[in-house]
Symmetry: D3
Subunit: 250 residues, 6 copies
């Protein structure tokens, strides 16, 4: 089995479904950079620019709605490029991001085209944000629809890729309990560089660097007897929505 | 990285802590046989023979306590041999298996000697059985104590091996939710042969074969888009007590 | 109190609300056949034919949408007849089944007309299927609306019938914990005959026969000291949404 | 099937295991009186007199430990007599009631002798009281041990009687959610008379009368369409520890 | 810091969002009267009159829809006046109360205008009532939207006021666990007077007086060592949706 | 009401019950320093020195058990002095800290003597540490026993002080969800100074400074509309075991 392929010889592909332009950087930048560093395809489906709900600075500066969208789009494109991922914008409107059959259907199309082997999205609860659970719900619904032989969309019927929820801003308030700790040490510099593309949220650069360090400490405390991980390990935390399938307990 | 070793070059070792003589066969026989088939060491710490609580037939036949123990010991030794594992008996007395500092300390000794990289034991709740949670509790406590520099036991301080809970007889009543589905297809015949060593519980052979088949169906439904698993896949279900540590989301 | 009547002399009536054409057979066929065998009325409200999401074989055979619907309708009608139940189709469209005020209102009409004393429907969570929770939600909402004096629908205001959730395909993943084990031994042959009406899903006949057997084993282990149930007991598992009201603890 | 017998012809017997002398009156007096009114046997295993923890008035009056015990014993005997139940005292010492193998073993003896078809005890959590969960834990453990063929106690092996947890003083804080609402209207006067035997806790008479009325209101709201329960219905709430086994959904 | 102001000198303002005309009286009348008695502003956003779902008596008397609404409006206005609160009606239609973007947007307007420092609303689950969770969901969504700089509504961006869920009619069935017990003894007469404005629901006056007394008993049992609360203490129970922020543990 | 007194005129007193010598510094140092800064009494009951389980460095340096205990005692005494608290050592032996009736009884004595109005201790679950839940369990049990009129200990019967669980090292794995965010900004320098008394755990100084900063960010996001907290706010997170009792919702 070579790099970038699965046991059946197909390619590894990661699909990231996010509500706003910055989410994929703070929450899954390490996973994206890791996959890209292995030569795998990563596609980000960015449902809105976060123009109303997560662009306070731009509004305080008196920007128009179109300007805010353009700023956030440019930042997200730059960050995706740094991470090595393709990004697609749906401009569905945020705050609130309203789930619609059309938007879910568009995501079914992405699933059938991109054919992900791994899906990353938001957790299903967030008392501080309506849009995050709405995006996650549509990501999950579209994944199920894409598996149905009778669903009328382009492309072949999909298998059942595993789904990982990335970490929300206030994890304990979102019923988020780390189930998977991903070692992102080798790509952390890339993640940091992507964070720095998000000029409007500079106060979060250090916050999420520190989170990476803390998840790294936790990763080492759960890493088993033999791994010998270095002190400056960085990590990202994820939850699983479906059981892990494996040939080895580890 | 060769078969049977970890990233740091040490050996993979599985420690199974069970309350009664039969548990490791029904609930973890596949995982044991898989590890053994890879040339790895597997040690079973069997705290009691299940002489009072899980030997109804022998009692109905009028056996003495010593006879019942001897019967269950012989069955368990045969099953362990079939699976390729070493087994140690503690004869701590079942129904009830009472947690004691001495028994926990004996398990610390096993941890420090065997140096497991993976631990398998019962789930922490079981309304139908007192002994299963008691065994799990001691397995978990001993694991933590074995990690402490100041704990006075032979051997070097242990790392933090992952812990997996195997499936109880009535999973939903024990808050058991499959988090890991282990593909045991290639060793299922070995597991079945080990089950058939347990002559006193013949009614369970088919029951647990059927469970393996059902978990195999579930495994295929969660196996992602590319795996192409055969229809006669067999599985075993596990829960994790600690987060998974990994370098790849899959 | 005679067969088929309640303490106040009214008739026992069971209403089953399902998302797709096959659900009532696999999940509640025993309960339906039992009620019918007691001479009680059973009405099945089948919201969709499962034409897109649960008819993979027909699509692979190249059938049109209309053909798929006709196939599933015929199968469901045959199965309902075997079980002794009346079935009504709403053809609301599946994958996704979208909750709408109109569909909920139609269900209110059914409640007021049929006047169920027991309601059976899907559980409220199912990570593998959008339509099941959607059907359950509408069944529950319509039940509450039908109780309101001011709700503008034909028929008298309804009482508050108990609601039972039947077992999903992957129960542990749907937070399904058996709270009621129904002894369906005496009608199991009828349930099997109804299953065999669903020709397109032949692989499930044995799967659900085995599930019935396993729930039967569990039923016997929880059946109390005196019942003396036979070894070939068959069962179905249910959850309650509301507390049981009774005049005797048992 | 006649009054007071099960389907297999054996007698209905209720075993109540409580921590303190008053618990069975406030929490299960209705169930006890109902069973007794049907001519069934009810045995109360009262582990302590509640001499330290629930006899504040007697201590304020300057009574000795022996006097407090005698007072509570007399009250409990009177209340049991009013309800129609037999009561046995274990005098195991309260505040704290410490679980011991000997006390659990004594309860196994009771199970094998009395052969209950229904068991009532405390819920497993109570932040306001250590003794209640301790009593419940021993009641549950003894029940399992009494079922084991190899457990060395007098009497025949027991079946698996259902277990009901009665309502704690602050139900929401004890994770108590009513799953069974028992109609005790016809015996409420008897329960009230038993409450009035507990002279030291007069402030609770009205409190628990009011609770009975409130659970009666809830019972009527969940009683289904046809029951026509009167406005002055009284109820008691219970949780189940095991699934209900039944031949009819209702 | 004077009465009715916060640490930063702004006024304390309470916003109550309810589904039906009577809810604010039974569930939060004490909190409202307390705040009003301190000279603080209280605004009630009453989304419907409860005309279909909670006006059974009026329908039985043959009233028209317009009459029922008028009756309930008059009652609610009288009760709000007694409590000292302002009330606004949205007439959004009940049974079902359907969440819409327009209604949520109207609530955003209320938040930005009224600028609450405390928000009270329904709990998020209620198996007996669709409208209560729907109202709570909109109250929570509007609160988040009102905080977004880019949300196009009149008024300044809002801070993040704490949210309290008041007690549903069947608390245990709604996952309601008291986290805050509010002492309403000094205003209980006012709450009772407000209850008596709801002539159509006279059967609830005593029910909710009794609930107040019971929550008062619980309040005293949790009130710490020194408070010396009187025996006739009255209370109301609340849950928090967000963590408490404080400068002192107490 | 003056500083350091309750509404009934008694003094505010904080009792902290911890398993090991360092816990009170990392987890509750801010709360302790805040109370002390208000002139209130704070007593720390330190059940063990953490000599075996949390002194890895000393063991690696070849210290004897007595030496390790002396080192940890000196550190803890210094830290308590910096915070302004009294500390008492029970030397009960760690790893494992075994709950015993004698140790619980000793804590009852402390409760009756110190008469706390607030209690701080560990959370009830910790997969990484046996001793923390054991200490919490004894702290809770002793609190209940100290309230019983009949419990034979010196001193007057206690009231019911609120209990707060402080934050474990891996909060999400311990079911820890922040319910109270305490603003410790004004005493953070004191907490840091106390941390620096724990020379053996220097790697944690920055870790817990960072945690304080992160909880401060969360505190500001939940602080309501008017507080105007500074950017360098520090916080500590707590859970409540009992409902809050209050005269004002805020």
């Amino acid at each position: 089995m070579t790099e970038g392929s699965t046991v059946s010889g197909e390619q590894h592909v990661t699909l990231v479904v996010t509500a706003h332009a910055g989410d994929f950087v703070w929450r899954a930048g390490g996973a994206i950079a890791l996959a890209a560093s292995r030569g795998e395809r990563v596609t980000i489906a960015c449902l809105t620019f976060g123009e109303r709900g997560e662009s306070a600075r731009a509004w305080r500066e008196g920007r128009s709605l179109a300007e805010v969208k353009a700023i956030r789009r440019a930042e997200a494109e730059a960050a995706a490029a740094v991470l090595g991922a393709e990004i697609r914008f749906f401009d569905a409107g945020d705050y609130p991001l309203l789930p619609t059959p059309d938007l879910t259907d568009a995501l079914v199309g992405v699933y059938r085209e991109v054919r992900p082997t791994v899906v990353l999205t938001h957790a299903l609860a967030d008392p501080y944000n309506l849009d995050h659970p709405a995006a996650a719900r549509m990501a999950l619904d579209a994944r199920v629809l894409a598996q149905a032989a009778g669903y009328p969309a382009e492309g072949e019927v999909l298998g059942a890729p595993p789904v990982f929820f990335f970490e929300p801003h206030q994890p304990e308030m979102c019923d988020f309990r780390p189930q998977v700790l991903l070692d992102i040490t080798e790509v952390f510099d890339t993640k940091r560089a992507a964070m720095e593309c998000l000029a409007a949220q500079q106060h979060l650069w250090e916050y999420y660097t520190e989170l990476g360090r803390r998840r790294g400490v936790q990763l080492r405390r759960n890493a088993g007897p033999n791994l010998g991980l270095p002190a400056n390990t960085f990590g990202e935390a994820y939850m699983r929505y479906f059981p892990q399938v494996t040939g080895r307990l580890a």
